[in-house]
Symmetry: C2
Subunit: 359 residues, 2 copies
Amino acid sequence: MNKVSIKDIAKKAGVSITTVSIVLNGNGTERKISPSKIKKIMDVAAELNYRPNQQAKSLRTGKTYTLGLIVDDISNFFFSHLAKTVEEEADKFGYTVMFCSSENDEGKSRNVLGTLLNKQMDGYLIAPTSGMQQEINQLVQENKPLVLVDRFFQNSSASYVALDNYKGTFDSVTHLAKQGYSKIAIVTNDSEQIQLQERFEGYKTALRKHKIPFVPEYVKKIPFKFSAQKTVREIESFVAANPDVDAILFTSNNLGIPGLEGLRNLNKKVGNDIAVICFDDNDHFRLASPSITVISQPIRAIGKNALKILLDQIDKKELKQVKSVLLPNLIVRESTPVKASIIPAVKSKATDNTAKGKK
Amino acid sequence: MNKVSIKDIAKKAGVSITTVSIVLNGNGTERKISPSKIKKIMDVAAELNYRPNQQAKSLRTGKTYTLGLIVDDISNFFFSHLAKTVEEEADKFGYTVMFCSSENDEGKSRNVLGTLLNKQMDGYLIAPTSGMQQEINQLVQENKPLVLVDRFFQNSSASYVALDNYKGTFDSVTHLAKQGYSKIAIVTNDSEQIQLQERFEGYKTALRKHKIPFVPEYVKKIPFKFSAQKTVREIESFVAANPDVDAILFTSNNLGIPGLEGLRNLNKKVGNDIAVICFDDNDHFRLASPSITVISQPIRAIGKNALKILLDQIDKKELKQVKSVLLPNLIVRESTPVKASIIPAVKSKATDNTAKGKK
DNA sequence: CTGAAAGCGCTTACAG
DNA sequence: CTGAAAGCGCTTACAG
């Protein structure tokens, strides 16, 4: 193994380990170590292929230059892209990131958080499961650098960066209403997580605003734990049971993809038989035919903001709560055409419009 | 900060730190520490909310229980799913994983590897860029637990788990030939990476076997660094310049997605005007209309194998080279129908078959 | 200008 | 049965 330590360098260069440490940290000139010694030490270090042991450094200095990232599932589109930005930005500032998936499970969440805590991360970036509030508050109290992403807790003083989820669904329903839809269903997860609560609120409020009655049957809540397969089945039977629904709003990627699969299985033509909007953009929604109208999240901005806030906490050792709420972006595509039936006077034009979605 | 150490516990419990350490590591009974003392120590530790400092532990024991993962880009479908499996499996064995993106850049690769080395990972899982051979060999020589994924080096004794890439493209071309295509283009990256070389070889050999002439103009190599946008443009002009091509094989996800976008922009109907096969499955290829025939990689198996080999190296401290080559899976979908023109006798049936792809 | 010594928080022979 | 001491590889006052 690579067991070269500053002791070895010191011996070979004929100086003390103190001097080696000073020089290796680039403080040689400042501390007026003689240039010849500096050179000697650098040469020996290179020759021996010396690698500073970060564990030892960290133990002594208290800095690990490592950030902990806890997400639901790193293979999820949103989180993998978030992770990419976080890692990219962290790297710029000399930090590495350790990631853990909570699998949306409180037990696993607590475990991985504990592990990261033991490993002394310099800061934590967490998409918390709903039961983690107490642990999060505890960390805040202990003054640990921490920022929540994607979700947060109402009565917590933890900093966070999240989306204006309410606006996302509100804008979606408004768009659908304007296009002439009035039997708008929502498919969401059966979860206490605030971002889903907000998305649901936005849906309800927008319905009210557009004088569309809220129909409890049009609300489908799917347990988080369901596999994609099972989710497809659930959505199929939901859609089959509500044939009058003319538009569906999926509150996440994880529901939209199985949702489209379910609609295809039922032979429902998106954009024609039924309008579709989904939270989170991705390649499929963009390239599908018809392409899917989405509420896109500024993932890069979320990651950058979160990291900036975290680094500020780490540097200034101050934990003033920062709340960063970013705006969603409704991208209108082919899955939400003007509803043909409402404009019989210009039927041909409407058909034309809709047909575009089928090609 | 959480500054509770075993010293604090020792003081409060009225014992030595040695005893605390023994008890906290679960060796109290074995070492015949009196049960009352054990209980006392455990109670105090819980009361003080003690967290063992893994940095200190690692410095002393030489184990960090952390694995380093270096991928091209964590947001890439293949790598994010690989990361998920790796993390899941690692977690089962008490390891956490630190990930870094190499962005397919040698400089960044070297940097992140250096950082991970300093941080004393217990093992390394690396998708190496082509220039990393020397560093990798060095690690092997130093007996560092290491396994390469997705790619490897011919003359290196580093263990690896990879795909039979040759078979992937060979099977694809064979499938296309059987469906009646004979002007088969390949779009790949301009890279030395072995998996791409192998994919190219499989293409050429299959052409030869099926007596299809190799046409240099049908080969498009796109620089790795190109953005998705730029890749779309490149593919558009390539396709436009070769109107006689009747099938395209994309050697990766990162090319297939922009490829489909380019074809759409050119108004080329996949499955009708041109057949398409792509390496790596994903949601879009599965759900697209027409759905895309793919060569799918057993990502979970790749991750599990790699982790198993790595943990074996870590546990046994033996570095016998293990080469694990998994088989790709050709999933035939709608983008590669029987080519209509070759079976004029049963034209109606062929049309039928092809049409399926359009609906 | 440079080095001896203490200490970060642990574990582990070793002694009694 | 339990504890004093050394040491993992560093950094950092402090002294001279």
